[in-house]
């Protein structure tokens, strides 16, 4: 299971009230900022507003929630993404059972996509080959955008699902996402009127073992993009906990999520959040879809998102490539990214499958030479990456093609951290992060519980410490305080104490009544009470756990 940490112990340190409030907040807001009022509105009737307020305080104290203030004084709360994903399995432990491999069959509609790491690599190679010049509007040329798009498999429907704009700064969604990721990985920089590769950062990224590379990108999608809406975050958190390589029915996943998705505002969605997220993961090459023998759709992870799973897979060592005498290069799935990059720069990719197949030809070698490579370097690279001498035919052919190509060496479009670094600018991410609260004033100081109930000192201590019988007018006064502070009251009726959460005072016919909820057996019964319907009462001020 893809648990980042074991989270059972933190739960024990939280009150049931705080645990409940965290669950409500995560369920309804995911990792997006929310106001106290919003939480209270979606909270359960069994809890009073004051209990939620104290729970928020408790969660802040436990550093599971941060509080910020907007310029005009509005206070917002937010469950940081790392907390969200750490606590998701704790609060929502229910998981579906996997399906036996023998029950799985191929589904015609499924088109496998290369993993995102390779999609990015191929798109970056296309950028280098097609040119990274920026137009007067400061974006890549139309041709480059089109060429680049061919290597990316992200569908436009993902934009709506994740609440992205369909276009950003003149880029179609999938190219915008690619540039956004590249900016966050720091692999592109802006240099005068063009984009360029940041050689060091790019080399660093390429050095990552394949599984680590993909795991990093999976986490990036989860922590940065899935959290853009509460339902995508919930689906992503659930799906990320599925065991890699095991098959799960989408219906089962939907069912798990449905049990806590009641009242999702956008009821018009055609696809459930789980299905939309899984489809996205397939477009990014990380998941695979199939059908069971009963025709139900199922999916599974092809990559894991944690270091632990990489270790389980046991393959962090790069596999060597194979060069055949007919000038084809076979690249196994776990070949290093740097080797693939070199091949992108000198050969034509003819098939992306389990094995990626490249073909060395006159055009690709001439183009590599044009970008500054020499035949000897190219041949030496192939021998290094394959671990054996090049076949004679390949040597002979490459040498001929290199000689026929232009001798003049143009500089590749990359920037090292050296001489030209003064002119380079970091590329800004294209999309803002809706969970980000760095730009707001972080509220560090924790208020006391008492400060949540303004005027607490003004009321007699006995009102909140002992059950007493009061005059009708005092009863009303207590109810007004309870309503103001959103605290429950304990009512004694014929010797039995019943907690009651008042919602509203109702005046009429020279008398008054209070509507609210009687808390019984973990449930809330809506009632309207007249002041003579209970004997004794007291205010219940929640305490910090």
């Amino acid at each position: 299971m893809q648990n980042d940490h074991s989270s059972s112990s933190p739960m024990e340190s939280l009150s049931a009230r705080a645990t409940h409030a965290l669950a409500v907040a995560m369920r309804r807001f995911g990792s997006l900022p929310f106001q106290e009022e919003q939480l209270l509105r979606v909270g359960q009737p069994a809890y009073s507003g004051a209990e939620y307020r104290v729970a928020l305080l408790e969660l802040r104290k436990a550093e599971l929630l941060i509080a910020v203030r907007r310029g005009w004084g509005e206070k917002l709360y937010c469950v940081p993404p790392e907390v969200y994903f750490r606590w998701h399995p704790v609060l929502f432990p229910k998981m579906p059972e996997p399906v036996e491999q023998a029950d799985i069959m191929y589904m015609d509609e499924h088109t496998p996509c290369p993993p995102l790491g390779l999609q990015l690599l191929h798109a970056a190679a296309e950028l280098v080959k097609t040119g990274m010049k920026l137009t007067t509007k400061g974006i890549l040329t139309k041709r480059t955008i089109e060429k680049c798009s061919q290597h990316l498999f992200l569908g436009n429907e993902a934009a709506a699902f994740l609440s992205f704009p369909p276009e950003m700064d003149g880029y179609p969604f999938k190219v915008a996402v690619m540039l956004d990721m590249a900016a966050r990985l720091n692999i592109f920089v802006k240099h005068e009127k063009k984009l360029a590769l940041h050689e060091e950062a790019f080399a660093g990224w390429m050095e990552l073992p394949v599984r680590e590379r993909e795991a990093g990108l999976i986490r990036m999608w989860r922590d940065l993009y899935a959290v853009r809406t509460s339902y995508s975050a919930d689906a992503a958190a659930l799906v990320s906990r599925l065991e890699p390589f095991k098959w799960y029915r989408l219906d089962d996943l939907d069912h798990v999520l449905e049990t806590r998705m009641h009242g999702v505002p956008d009821g018009s969605r055609q696809e459930t959040p789980v299905r939309a997220w899984c489809r996205l993961m397939m477009q990014l090459g990380w998941m695979e879809e199939a059908a069971t023998h009963h025709g139900e759709r199922a999916c599974r992870w092809l990559y894991g998102s944690t270091a632990m799973e990489q270790a389980e897979a046991g393959h962090t060592i790069s596999e060597p490539i194979r060069v055949t005498p007919d000038c084809e290069v076979f690249v196994p799935p776990l070949a290093s990214t740097a080797v693939r990059w070199q091949l992108e720069m000198m050969a034509e990719r003819v098939q992306s499958d389990v094995m990626t197949i490249y073909r060395l030809n006159a055009k690709s070698i001439a183009a590599a030479c044009e970008r500054g490579s020499q035949y000897e370097e190219l041949a030496a690279f192939l021998e290094y990456a394959s671990g054996e001498p090049l076949p004679d035919t390949v040597q002979f052919a490459m040498e001929g093609w290199a000689q026929a190509g232009p001798a003049a060496a143009a500089l590749p479009e990359s920037i090292s951290s050296g001489a030209e670094s003064g002119h380079q600018l970091a590329l800004d991410p294209l999309f803002t992060d809706p969970t980000k609260t760095d730009h707001l004033d972080r509220l560090m100081e924790l208020p006391t519980v008492e400060s949540l109930f303004q005027g607490l000192d003004e009321v007699p201590l006995v009102w909140r410490s002992q059950m007493r019988a009061y005059h009708k007018s005092t009863r009303r006064e207590l109810m007004e305080r309870a309503l103001n502070w959103r605290v429950p009251v304990n009512l004694s009726v014929m010797g039995t104490i019943i907690p009651f959460v008042p919602d509203e005072l109702v005046d009429g016919m020279g008398d008054w009544a209070v509507s609210g909820r009687l808390l019984k057996n973990c449930g809330a019964e809506p009632v309207k009470l007249k002041p003579d319907m209970w004997d004794e009462m007291m205010l219940v001020i929640p305490k910090l756990h």
Binding site: Y106, A313, D326, P333, L334, V354, P391, D392, T393, F396
Partner: protein, 580 residues
């Protein structure tokens, strides 16, 4: 994706890559050969392809989808792509879904699941051929007997092979049996695999027998199997083969090994147009016509007698018009004989649907292990191009490049040295270009046999060669097919068609017959280093590699730039390719 150490990598598009250097490669290859076709073998990574036809042929041989998936999984480095296992299951399930049968009143019926038949009946290509059954059963359709071939062809094309159980006409009965002692006084008895091949074709217990292809290497006695089938069925038989020499060989074998006399055997080739109970014709004469708009006049041969069996020798060479004719002859038993199912024109599906599925396949290596054929050592020798020719090559157009590479004059020295090495062994030098062959013949002072040579003169040369009076024979591509040269032990190929797999297979077949002494034979293919010829050579070798043969690749290193004659001993003249 978890990697295990095995020799196969199965791609999602149903190609399979075999790492030839892996310790399990041989075992994996043996399995693959049963359900996949070798398409490419550059270096140590061989490419196979699993196609619907390769799967259906496997189904005919009794393999199940699970057998195939288990074999692949056993040797695969990575988990099998779901698409591949799905496709294997789908294709294998389709075999047997449709059956052609005769109803009690003799009409032709296509049986299958109602839903499938409904779907197929809606296809425009099939609409006119599939009629409602007389009783409107949903799982049956009526077909016209004359559409039998076309229907099978079309259904195969759509991915639904048909098991043809509609039976055959008996043909005119013919009194014939195999002799126990051949007229040539050689004892004659069918070898066990030859008997089995006939049984597999005949399929006495199964109605779907009686048509199909037997895949046997040259030297395995395809002609004998054809004759044995004819004798088993005892009916008038039309034998179609590739050239006149082969017609004569068939006739000779028929007279030698059966009770048929000359008056029963007709030759329908060249100037002879005899139609007799057993008639042997060439594909060429059947497709001969004066103008391209004319009818094929000789196609009438198919209906001139009540043939009970048609034998298609070298079925991979069957020309398109004969396919069309064959589509109309589905009620006649059809036997295809070949060393390879690979057709250069890619019409393997037509062979499957119109002649029949593969009924028997015998790898060459099995024959070799049992000494039914010679043990052959195959070597590709790469010869550098002389400096002056190198410049010529660099500046030449594509077509001219091949010619320059093929006719590399340095090859003559190599031929001479190789012949010296194998002195005393009967040797053939085989080539494509007459000019080159003339030069070689002159240099070796050996006779040259070409297509221009009259048949009588050819026969005389064969006889002298067989008698050992001529040690070396230089032959043009006329030697590719069905030429009986029993005592050749060395074949040196100096040039060939651009990568024709069948040609290489046929040429090597010239030296495969068992040898009296050490049962060894040598096949050399000479190619010009660093030219397209090496690429063609690789393609040509595909079929033999599929059959389990290995090519040693050597670099020829005489003092060619100095223009010296090679004087060093042979083993010092060539070194293992890749060594310094």
């Amino acid at each position: 994706m978890i990697r295990e150490d095995h020799p196969l990598i199965v791609q999602a598009d149903s190609t399979v890559l075999l790492d030839d250097r892996h310790i399990e490669a041989e075992a994996a290859r043996e399995q693959l050969a049963q359900f996949a076709d070798l398409t490419k073998r550059p270096g140590h990574l061989h490419t196979y392809r699993i196609t619907p036809l390769s799967l259906w042929n496997a189904a005919v041989s009794g393999l199940s989808a699970n057998d195939i998936i288990d074999s692949l999984a056993r040797y695969s480095s990575y988990e099998l792509p779901l698409k591949v296992t799905g496709r294997i299951r789908t294709m294998m399930e389709r075999y047997g879904k449709l059956r052609l049968e005769r109803s009690e009143d003799g009409s032709l019926m296509l049986y299958g699941e109602a839903e499938l038949l409904e779907q197929l009946s809606d296809q425009p290509e099939l609409k006119a051929m599939l009629l409602p059954s007389p009783n409107h059963e949903p799982d049956a359709r009526l077909a016209k007997p004359e559409d039998r071939g076309m229907l099978k062809q079309e259904l195969t094309r759509m991915g639904y092979p048909v098991i043809d159980l509609a039976g055959y006409r008996a043909g005119e009965a013919l009194q014939v049996r195999l002799r126990e002692q051949a007229i040539s006084e050689q004892p004659f008895q069918l070898r066990d695999y030859q008997k089995r091949a006939v049984d597999m074709f005949y399929c006495e217990d199964r109605m779907d027998g009686g048509s199909g292809v037997l895949v046997l290497p040259c030297g395995a006695g395809k002609t004998v199997i054809g004759i044995a089938t004819l004798a088993r069925l005892g009916c008038d038989t039309l034998i179609l083969t590739s050239n006149v020499t082969s017609v004569k060989q068939w006739k000779r074998e028929l007279m030698d090994k059966t009770t048929l006399t000359e008056s029963f055997i007709g030759e329908y080739a060249g100037n002879s147009k005899q139609v007799r109970p057993v008639t042997i014709a060439t594909y060429q004469i059947l497709t001969n016509r004066r103008h391209k708009d004319d009818e094929y006049a000789h196609m009438k041969l198919f209906s001139e007698r009540n043939w009970g069996l048609i034998i298609y020798d070298e079925v991979h060479l069957l020309p398109a018009p004969v396919f069309r004719m064959t589509a109309e002859l589905q009620a006649t038993r059809r036997l295809g004989l070949t060393a390879t199912l690979v057709r250069e024109d890619g019409r393997e599906a037509d062979v499957f649907s119109l002649i029949g599925p593969k009924r028997f396949d015998l790898p060459w290596k099995t024959l070799e292990a049992r000494h039914w054929i010679a043990t052959v050592e195959c070597t590709e020798i790469r010869i550098p191009l002389h400096k002056t020719d190198r410049d010529k090559y660099a500046g030449a157009a594509a077509a001219a490049k091949s010619r320059i590479a093929s006719e590399n004059t340095a090859k003559i020295d190599a031929v001479k040295t190789l012949l010296e090495k194998h002195q005393g062994k009967p040797a053939l030098v085989i080539g494509q270009y007459l000019q080159q062959l003339h030069k070689i013949a002159q240099r070796l002072q050996a006779p040259l046999m070409t297509g221009e040579m009259p048949h009588q003169e050819r026969e005389r040369l064969y006889a002298s060669f067989k008698a050992g009076e001529i040690p070396v024979l230089v032959v043009s591509k006329v030697a590719n097919f069905a030429v009986d040269l029993p005592d050749a032990a060395v074949a040196i190929q100096v040039s060939g068609s651009f990568g024709s797999r069948q040609e290489e297979a046929q040429r090597i077949g010239r030296i495969l017959r068992p040898k009296k002494d050490d049962n060894s034979a040598w096949f050399y293919t000479l190619v010009t280093e660093g030219t397209k010829e090496t690429e063609y050579a690789r393609r040509r070798q595909l079929f033999l590699l599929e059959q389990g043969y290995r090519y040693k690749v050597m670099n020829w290193r005489p003092g060619i730039d100095r223009g010296d004659e090679a004087e060093l001993p042979l083993n010092e003249l060539y070194k293992e390719a890749g060594s310094p």
